[in-house]
Amino acid sequence: MTKMSQSTLANPSRRGFLAQTSLVMGAFSLGFHIPTAEAAAPSPEVNAWVVIKPDDSVIIRIARQEMGQGTLTGLAQLVAEELECDWAKVTTEQPTPGQNAARGRVWGNYATGGSRGIRDSHLYVRKGGASARMMLVAAAAKTWNVPASDCVVEKGVITHKASNRRTTYGQVAELAATMEPPKDIALKDPKTWTIAGKPLPRLDTVAKVDGSQIYSMDFTMPGMLHAAITNCPIFGGSLKSFDASKIANKPGIKKVVAVDGMGVAVIADTWWQAKSALEQVTIVWNEGPHAKLSSADIAATLKEGLTAKEAFVGNQAGDVKAGLAQAAKTVEATYSFPYQHHATMEPMNATALFTGTRCDVWTSSQNSEAALETVVEASGLPVGQCDVTRLLLGGGFGRRAVSHDYVRQSVLIAKQMPNVPVKLIWSREEDMLHGHYHPITQCKLTAGLDAQGNVTAFHMRISGQSILSSINPSRLQNGRDPSTFQGLNPDGTEGVFGYAIPNLLIDHAMRNPPLPAGYWRGVNNNQNALYLESFIDELAAAAGQDPLAFRQKLLRNSPKHLAVLNAVAEKVGWDKPAPKGIFRGLSQHMGYGSYVAACAEVSIVDQKVKVHRIVAATNPGHAVNPQQIEAQIDGSFAYGLSALLYGEITIKDGMVEQQNFDTYELLRMAQMPKVESIVMPSGDFWGGVGEPTIFVAAPAVLNAIAAATGKRIRNMPIQSNSDLKIA
């Protein structure tokens, strides 16, 4: 074992640092930072996606980011399927965003969010695999001087039957790399798949069970220092001044720096030294305009929006006003959903090395191209002199998708410590205080029923925060944030409102509190499905109808929505009574292109609610790795139920009150229900997998609780808004 005592890092000379650093960079230019031309020499790159070594091992390049969701394995399956290689010989590598920029974005978009890893890139990665196969076969055919069409390939072995000659991919790869890429590429019929579509084991599991997997948090290089940071905890505030005199003589401390006018960082030999010392730095903040902001203020602002005259329209049909006026019965309810924090297990962190002419960052990001843009901006260097090495994420869930605040800070710190690699790690407290939170909303629903209990008019008014206004206002459409209406759209392929209601209005009164909002697994589908599916149950009750039959009637024009719902109902045995003491609730939704439904089974004993089982169905169009889809269904439920049962970020004096997991509770083993999954791809579209099922967990549980208690919980989370406890 290598023992790194702290004394070896104490007071190193500048010369020593430089020597170590340049050595390290040399190593990295061979290891991680491979310019593609160099990489191509020993291992022929057939095309951007496929590298084949002389020993027949296959390297498949993955552009989208793995973060636990299994996209790496799924994308490799799709390439390998078309490549017709031996799956047992497949490994993967991730080109850097700098390499992508240098090659005209040959690997396309790296952004990994919105459940788009596979659905948005399947076509070009499959073509990449197929094109490589055609070039390899063409190379063999050229060697043998026979038509390529006379050759067959199986598991990386090319055969010319007529002459009984065989060769392998490894033997022809170098020649294949020089062949003209084919123009016409025919893809396989998914019905004939043998690698894709199969429940293969993940490619990245082994290193995750013996501690050898390197996450961004684990990255190290000789001479690396560590930084801890405190940013102004008040939204809209900034750094006024700081006094670090108390820590001047503490061991290991290298430097104390201001960062971006927002925070103070201590740079030290070890992170613990940096963090402990930072606590002794006296910092004065400019508190800014929101220093008195509270959750009550935000709630009041949103409440006003529920009845405001002006609102952006998301979906409209008929005349909702007239429809409501003519209704035999009207039902009205108001719901709310609080801010949520991502709480990735790995707090934000990044390692940066700035030399004056180059800036390199090693970090975990859902979009390393955006991270690279951040590096370019923060370093002031051109893109050709910067790069980001992609390290595995200890969770993303949207937090590492858009804002690379942690990357920016790491570069700004490294610039103040040139030629020395510095790893910035946010403490969990820093991570909690500086999230990009799931936005807060309230929702008022009003519906009219006719004498037969048909829904004739329906108004859904959402009031609350727009994510785009927070992260990218330039993408608003005449002020409107289309993502607010996820799953409620009149048409399109992303998320269509499935219910047939003649007079309909879904609109959004945008109210933007000063907290940064961000994409959080499931995004606005979470509360949209929760509001809608809870209220549909309320309407079924008002109409005196069974919640399944009520939905089936309303989904008469939406066969795919209906199919997943019916599959769930059938599997759970909705037509038969639940076991004694068990109560059931249903929900359905469409988002990220996929159709999902769930039935939750709960019990309530001594006011303690327990979710026993959830039966779920998803139609993602295509199922590239069914066992990983099941894992995503499980995982999405854990994330969604965590928010439903416990999750709530509240504000006092302009800052977040929950600073760690003792006050921001998360779902654990004992609260995890059994999950039974129905994966039912219809084969005629490509939908997402990582997020969609999260939408239906919470409303199904709420509907089951209402079935058990007769009381409707309308404000989240359950723990702080009902008299129920979590078993």
Binding site: G68, K208, T270, G394
Partner: protein, 154 residues
């Protein structure tokens, strides 16, 4: 300066006395043990100290006596072989992002030492580590599968 046995190797550890064991281990290059919360809530930092599962983020190095033994995920399998839990984790594809799994495995190993065939209630009680990817059902199945593997061997 403490004389500790870390993964079977005696060594002298020099760190500020208030340094949590987590950071001592990570600074030694044993980065399989993770920082998650720093307040003993999430369990990503779980190691064995003299065979007991301990959340190392909240225990300072000064709390250990000379000769105490720390085992981390890197040495969960004896003699370079995988522990039955690690085999089960691979077989059932338990990890998603995997960041919490070192801690989960160390907690599960301590549980199996005490209770070779744990009931669901025992698993619920012992396995309080947080997994944000939500791998709990596969962790539960993995523990049961490992228990079966160990029983078969015994």
């Amino acid at each position: 300066m403490a004389q500790l046995v870390i993964n079977g190797i005696k060594q002298t550890v020099s760190a500020d006395p208030d340094t949590p064991i987590l950071w001592v281990l990570r600074d030694l290059g044993l980065t399989g043990t993770k920082y998650g919360c720093g307040v003993a809530q999430c369990g990503a930092c779980t190691v064995h100290i003299d065979g007991e599962a301990v959340r190392s983020c909240s225990l300072p190095i000064s709390a250990l006596q000379d000769g105490q033994s720390i085992t981390t995920i890197e040495a969960l399998g004896a003699g370079g072989k995988l522990h039955a839990l690690q085999k089960a984790w691979i077989e059932l594809d338990v990890p998603q992002c995997g960041y919490c799994q070192s801690g989960q495995l160390m907690a599960a190993a301590a549980l199996l030492t005490k209770s070779p065939n744990p009931s669901d209630a025992e698993i619920d009680e012992a396995m309080t580590n947080i997994c944000r990817c939500g791998t709990y059902n596969r962790i539960r199945a993995g523990i049961k599968h490992a228990a079966a593997l160990l029983t078969k061997k015994a």
